[in-house]
Structure formats: structure tokens, C-alpha cells
Symmetry: C2
Subunit: 504 residues, 2 copies
């Protein structure tokens, strides 16, 4: 989930300087029009310390007309507030129609902190989160627009930021003993945040994870998102508040192209070290070792009735099939099934898109391998516009919910994206054309998909950002060298099985 | 919640016989058109044993073309099913677009049974229920129509039914030892059902509670609801699945008028014994006693910091004000506030309708008396069409959720509907016109409201059905005799406070 917000996005100073006046004018204009609208805009800032929550809120006040903005930061409830139900103070501060509210450390804060401190169980945490979902839905059903920004920094980046502040006499005050205490609990905090974001990222009030390291980037990311949300709100048909236009809303305005380029250039895929290789000798050794491990582990899993589900996604010609065969080669044929996913059948088309995956869930103790999967919803269906924006956006939550049920049932779920570079793909396509027995593998569709590399990259990046959860993380596999990729897949799988078996 | 389904609705045999062929033709026609539609219809039957769940499902199969109906009853999961996540068997059985599925004892069954048997905590119960809400939303977001019928019988009526069956050699098999064991746990079962219905009655898949005692009534109630739901589904704009026409959908077709009359004639209000009176002497004694109790109880509540919120609703001239004054007369002026609710101010209109009530929540230890309340949403706003059908239907869930938060915070919430008959109201209106100092109390609006007595009655009945929950039940007060009503209100309040104080 947070991988996609630790890729080092930076916006160049010149672009920022040149474009910011345009964005500010657009924001002011949107704010002006909003004043006459029949709905409020509620912006939540949450996230990691030092990721720029309050700085961004201040900046928005600077960029827009602060008269019509309410900014509230919450600390521990006062005795006045403790005497009322938990949400009372937020209800009290709700902005009227036409206004914008910026809330810091609001209704997500205490549930997350209580979970990190283990004062509540996961079930109790979920109940609080669901209460929040109901609250937000009550507001959006009434027309309100809710934007939720999770400002993120990696653990190392946070440390760096604290250290830098400590050295600066003007910033020193920002770092307290609490800051370091929180830093120590970074992993627990992020685990609770992961659960909260997963459970409360609904289609009416989705979370947006913003990389907070670069001030220019995060400011622009939040500013444009706010501008677009207000514009979309103003475009709605007033009588049906809940219908959001389903055409793909392209980013417009001066910074649009720069931001789009940023999203394309800074992504989880391009951070992979694609030069990793494994020579034939080491490959043979490693293959033997990992296949032996897998065989043993699967036999144990079979005994214990623990099922494994593998998801393989990746570019055309990335080598999914080869990786799958190395796994199936290691286990008893009765213990696995491979489900290749292509266009749905008539029977499947007549039902919810998840139905076809539910039906393939195996009895316990087996391995089910999906060669492409439910992620088609947010990849090919998104890019080819087979699914509307509404549908694929809903898809993230539906998929997370589906996977939670699998994992909650005790199933081990391992998801691989096999990555190759665009050049490598071209090489493989040409190779396939030349080789008689591989020719069937390459179709005109493959060439067409290749033409949409940039769009797919953005879709993959968002997929990782929204569905790489604690319960079911993505493993990104550097696939330019097939040997390396195959071993990485097998080793990852074996490690996961080992861990799962230990839990019993 | 279930009060409104224990009023003894009966449909006369002649009407039933004459109209049933029309309803069947309409159902068949709707089913025929549905076949070409791009969505399925899922009907859930849950409820009390012997309330006609399976009989109604069979009847629908008889009335419509069973080729296109899937009927499934679920028992304990098989070993096959236990090896998959809980919802797997329901996913497997989902009907394709164009078809109808009738599910008995489906996804609500095991959570409720587990809660009744105390195998899970309330928090765990809530998590399971929220999982179900997500599941249903996944389906309805995709276009599916979900109808959930809770077939209800009172405890006594259920016993009667079992006894009758036991005497009938042809029906004897229906009553097992389990039946009686369940009957013993009736109250626990109903408490769990109350929570489940409250938490899962969403605007996309609301529950409908059907009184199950009279076979003709329940069959027609379910049949017309199914017909109307299919028709509404077919009328939707296909590209925006989720927009349900917000005009009030009137019941049409042959049985419409008969059913509407039934809903109007059989309601919780008309079952009240309106002849109850209290003479002056007994009134004075009782008043003194109850005021003394209240004074003492409120002082204890103040010490312990326990707040009380009172809701007064009722017909114009029902005597809300008089009842309120008898309460305020008994407690310290610093300990209460009366909030009269009339048309919202500009400030209130610019926000969610619940905002004005949240802002009036008092500090702990006080009594807050709402003279009319948030129930305006589902009463006057419904009848006068100030709120759209979507809005007031959503209102039930929003109100329940609001009240849950109050009660969850430790607040005692007591809700009164003061009832008078239409004749009595007329008498009081005339009296007010004659009495100089009462003349201001009667306005043309009162006369207009009076003209909508039937519509208001139906709104009150539905309000009780949907918001009289375990955590915040309605008390219906027979108000034709003011003395009787005042004492009943005070005694109820004092009893509730006593109970609440005992919990600490």
C-alpha cells in the first residue's frame, strides 16, 4: 500500500514556480463557485509525522481565501468533549454548504493510536472504523465531498527529516521525545494505518496516499486533487447527488501534464533494479533447492489443510507461464490447479465479475494458481475502458475485501507482478515471431497493449498503492532475466509458506 | 422494531381470492421482462420459525415460472463448504442476470445463531454483519436487487402455531424438540435479530419486516414487494445502476388499494387501548409520587454524570407540552433544557439535518428534552415531501446510527409518541378556538396536517417498525386522557432512569 508512496517523487523547482500561479487561480476560482453550491467540502489530513500534514493545510489557506476555510486540528478531547459521544466534536465543526473544512488528526486519529497501543482488539478497531464509514457516508449521501489524504514518508525518510530538523535551530522545536517514540513504533503504526485505509477506503470517500518527502510535489498533488474534487462536485446533477460522472476525468489545467508525467515517471516499477541476473549454474542449483523446499512445504500444507492461492500478473511476454511451470513442476499434480484467466464466458459475464474467481476456490490444502486474475478489473478493464471509472474505482475495495476473506479463512495468498522493461518486451516479441513454436504466443493485441505502456504503468502503480495490503502484499519481480525471476518467485513463495505453516 | 409486526394484520379471503390472479399475472409479467434485464434479483427470507418463510418461497415458485427461479435453503455448512470462506457457498449460488434467487437461512443465519448462543461477542457479531453489508453492496453496486424479508411472529403467536401443528397429524412433523428449544430462547433471538436488522438495513438493501401470522397477508405483502422491486429495477436508467427514482412509488395493480388500506388499518397506533383514564384524585397521588421519584433519580444521575435525552413526538394537540411540563416541574432548572424543534434556521439548513441535534447534546448529567426531534425527517418531511423518498428512507438508518452513538456513550434515550384519536383531536382543536388564551396554539397548518391523518399514521407505523430498537425503543402513550398520559410518561421515564442507574 505504501510502496507506491516511497518512490521519491520530486517536482522540479522551475515547473513548480511557473505553474503554481495557475493552480492557485484555479483553486480560487473553484472556491468562489463552491460558495454558491449546496454542499460542503471536507478535507482530512492524516499520516506519518513530518510528512507535511499541517504545512499543506497552511499552504491551502494561503493559496485560497481563508475566510471560507475552517481549519481544525484535534488533540486529546477536552472534558467538555469527553462528555459527549466520540463524533460530537466533528459534527460540531462541520462546515456549512459552500465552505471548505481542513481537518487534521480528526476521526481516524484516536482509533489508530488506540490500536497501536494495543488498547483495543482488531475487532474493536474494525467496529470503530465502520462507525467512521457510516459517518462519512451520512455526509456524502447528503452531498458533501470528502477528501482523505494520507501523507506518507518511509521510515528512513522520516528519520532523515527528524535529524535534519534537530540540526536546524529554527526547526528544532518540531522534534520532541514523542517524535522519536513514535518513530520506534513506525511499523506498528503503519500496520494499523494499512488496516484503517483498507477498511475505510470506500467509493464515496476514498483515501489518497500522498508521498510527503518533496514539499513541492505533495503541495501540488493535494492542490490539484482538491481542485478536481470541487470541480467534479460542481458538475454533478444536483438532484442526484451520488452520481459521479463516469467518464474518465482527465487532469486539466497548467500542472496537469507535469503531474501526469510525474505519476508515470515515479512509480514502483521503475524503481526496480532490472539488471539483476542469475547465471545458468547458480540457477540450476537454486532451482533444485527451491523445488525441494516447495515440495516439502506443500506436503506439510496439504496435511494441515492450508490452501495457497497464487496470483500472477505482468506484462505480455514477462514470463508468467515459465514461472508457473517451475512451481507446478515441484508439487504433486493432485495438489494444484492452474486457472488461466482470459475473457469471461457468457455464464460469467451474467454475474458479478468476482463470481468467476469465487467459483474456482479449491478445497483446503491445495494450491490454486491464477494466471492473470481479478486484477484484470483494475488493469486491462481500466485501460481498455471495459469498466467505467466508477466500476474500476470500486474494484479496489471489492478486491481488498475479497482477499481479506480469503486470508481470514486461513488461505495463504501470494501475488506476483512480473516486470520487464519495454525494450526487453520488444526483444521477446521479435524473438517469438522468429521462432516457429512460439509464434502462436504473439497476437496483434499484444502489440496494441504495448502501445499503452504508460497507461498500464499508471494502472499498475495505483493497483499496488491500493491493494498491496498487510494481509496480501504484492511482490514485484524483476523479470528481464528469466532465471532470476523464476528463482525469486519460488523463493518468495517458499518463504511465505514457511511463515504460514509456522502460524499453524 | 417488531411491534409493528405484531398487530394482527389479516387479509379477507374474498379480496385475496379476487385479486390474487391479478397479482400473479403481474408477477409473471415482471419476471418475463426481467429475463432480458442486466441484473439479478436476490430475495432473502429470514425470521422467526413458523412465520412462513419456506411457505412463501414455495408460493412464489408456484405463482411464477419456476424455471427462472433458484431456491436455496442453507443448513450447517458441509465439509466442502467449511473448506472455503464463509460466503463462498452464497457466491456459488448467485443467480445470473435476469433470474430470481430465493435464499432461506442464508448469510444472516449463522451470525445470529452464534450470537444467540453467545459463541461470539457483540463486536465480533458487528464485524460479521459489516462483512455482510459489504457483500450486499458489492452486489447492488453491480446492479443486483436485494430484497430482505424478516418474517415475524410474536412469542405467543408462535406458541399458538406450534400447539396447533402438534395437534394436526399432517403438520405434526413441523414441530421438533428444536422448535421448542428455540421458542425458549425467543427473547435472545429477537434481541440479536434487532441488532442485525438495525446494522444491515442499508438504503441499498433494506429489511422489510413482514407480519407472518396470516398466510394471505404475508403472501400478498411479499408478492407485491417483489413485483414492485422488479418493476423499479426495470425502470432504472441502465447506465447509472444506483439511481433509484426518487418520486414516491405508489403501489399499483389490483391489490394496491387493499394492501394500502391494510397498512393503514393495522398499525401500532390503532392497537392502543384509548379508553384508559385516570381520575383527578388518583392523578394527584400518582403525580406526587412520580415527581418525587424523578427528582431523586435525576439527582443521582447528575452525580454519576449520566445524561438523559427525551424525545417527544405526537399529533398536534396531543399534549406533548403538558407532559414535558410535568417532568421539568420535578427537576432542578439547572439540570434540564427543553429544545423545541420547528423549521430549521438558515445555519441549520446549510448542513446535514442531523447537525442541529448534535449541537444540542448537553454536558453529562443533564436532561435534554426534544419537543419534536430528528424524527421530523421521517414524519413531516416525508408526508409533506420536503425530503425525497431516498432521503427519508436513508433517514431510518441514519437515525438508528445516531441513537446508537448516544446510547453507546452511556446516555439514556427515551422516546415517546403521544397518541390521540382523530375525534379527540377535533375536540381539542375546537376547544382551543373557543378559549382565548389557547387560540394561538392552533394554526391553519394544524388543520392541514389533520387532513393527512392516514399518511401520518402510516409514517408513524413505519417509524416504529424501523427505529424502535432494543437500544432505543419507542413508548407509545395513550393520550386521550391527559392525566393518564402524563403519568404514563413520568412513570416510564422514572423506570428507565432507575434501570439505567442500576447499570452504573
Amino acid at each position: 500500500m505504501f510502496e507506491a508512496a516511497e518512490v521519491g517523487r520530486k517536482l522540479e523547482k522551475e515547473i513548480y514556480k511557473a505553474q503554481i500561479p495557475v493552480l492557485r487561480a484555479e483553486l480560487l476560482d473553484a472556491q468562489q463557485q463552491l460558495l454558491n453550491a449546496k454542499f460542503p467540502v471536507i478535507v482530512l489530513f492524516a499520516g506519518v509525522d513530518a510528512a507535511g500534514k499541517s504545512e499543506t493545510a497552511s499552504l491551502l489557506n494561503e493559496w485560497m481565501d481563508p475566510h471560507w476555510i475552517v481549519t481544525r486540528g484535534y488533540t486529546d478531547p477536552s472534558s467538555e468533549e469527553l462528555e459527549r459521544p466520540r463524533l460530537w466534536r466533528y459534527w460540531r465543526d462541520l462546515p456549512p454548504n459552500g465552505r471548505i473544512a481542513l481537518f487534521l488528526s480528526a476521526w481516524y486519529s484516536s482509533p489508530i493510536r488506540n490500536r497501536v497501543a494495543r488498547r483495543i482488539t482488531n475487532a474493536e478497531f474494525d467496529v470503530l472504523l465502520d462507525e467512521v464509514v457510516d459517518f462519512e457516508r451520512t455526509l456524502t449521501d447528503d452531498g458533501a465531498i470528502i477528501l482523505k489524504f494520507w501523507m506518507h514518508l518511509g521510515k528512513a525518510a522520516q528519520k532523515k527529516r527528524f535529524k535534519a530538523w534537530e540540526k536546524d535551530p529554527l526547526q528544532r522545536w518540531r522534534v520532541s521525545r514523542d517524535s522519536w517514540r513514535h518513530w520506534e513504533m513506525f511499523d506498528k503504526f503503519v500496520a494499523a494505518a494499512d488496516r484503517a485505509i483498507r477498511r475505510t477506503s470506500t467509493d464515496h470517500a476514498p483515501w489518497q496516499i500522498v508521498e510527503g518527502e518533496d514539499e513541492r510535489y505533495r503541495s501540488v498533488a493535494v492542490g490539484t486533487a482538491l481542485r478536481d474534487a470541487i470541480r467534479r462536485g460542481l458538475e454533478r446533477v444536483p438532484s442526484h447527488h451520488r452520481v459521479i460522472k463516469s467518464k474518465n476525468t482527465r487532469k486539466t489545467g497548467g500542472l496537469g501534464p507535469a503531474l501526469e508525467r510525474l505519476e508515470r515517471d515515479f512509480n514502483v516499477l521503475d524503481r526496480l533494479d532490472m539488471n539483476q541476473r542469475l547465471d545458468a549454474k547458480h540457477f540450476d542449483e537454486a532451482l533444485e533447492r527451491q523445488q525441494g523446499r516447495l515440495n516439502l512445504l506443500q506436503r506439510k500444507a496439504q496435511e494441515k489443510g492450508i490452501s495457497t492461492i497464487l496470483v500472477f500478473e505482468g506484462w505480455d511476454a514477462a514470463g508468467k507461464g515459465g514461472a508457473i511451470r517451475r512451481i507446478t513442476g515441484a508439487v504433486d499434480a493432485r495438489d494444484y490447479q492452474v486457472i488461466p484467466i482470459s475473457a469471461p464466458t457468457d455464464e460469467e459475464k451474467a454475474r458479478h465479475y468476482l463470481w468467476r474467481f469465487w467459483r474456482h476456490l479449491s478445497r483446503s490444502g491445495r494450491i490454486t494458481i491464477f494466471d492473470r486474475s481479478w486484477y484484470g478489473r483494475v488493469l486491462v478493464e481500466r485501460v481498455e475502458q471495459f469498466a467505467t471509472e466508477d466500476e474500476y474505482r470500486r474494484g479496489y475495495g471489492e478486491i481488498n475485501h475479497f482477499e481479506e476473506q480469503l486470508v481470514g479463512h486461513g488461505i495463504l495468498l501470494v501475488k506476483f507482478w512480473i516486470h520487464i522493461t519495454k525494450d526487453e518486451q520488444l526483444r521477446r516479441f521479435r524473438d517469438r515471431k522468429r521462432t516457429e513454436y512460439k509464434r502462436w504466443k504473439i497476437t496483434p493485441e499484444d502489440w496494441r497493449n504495448r502501445g499503452r505502456w504508460g497507461e498500464y504503468t499508471m494502472a499498475v502503480n495505483e493497483m499496488v498503492a491500493r491493494t498491496s495490503t498487510r494481509v496480501a502484499p504484492w511482490t514485484l519481480v524483476e523479470g528481464n532475466d528469466k532465471n532470476f525471476a523464476r528463482i525469486k518467485v519460488m523463493k518468495t513463495l517458499a518463504d511465505c509458506m514457511e511463515k504460514r505453516l509456522k502460524k499453524g
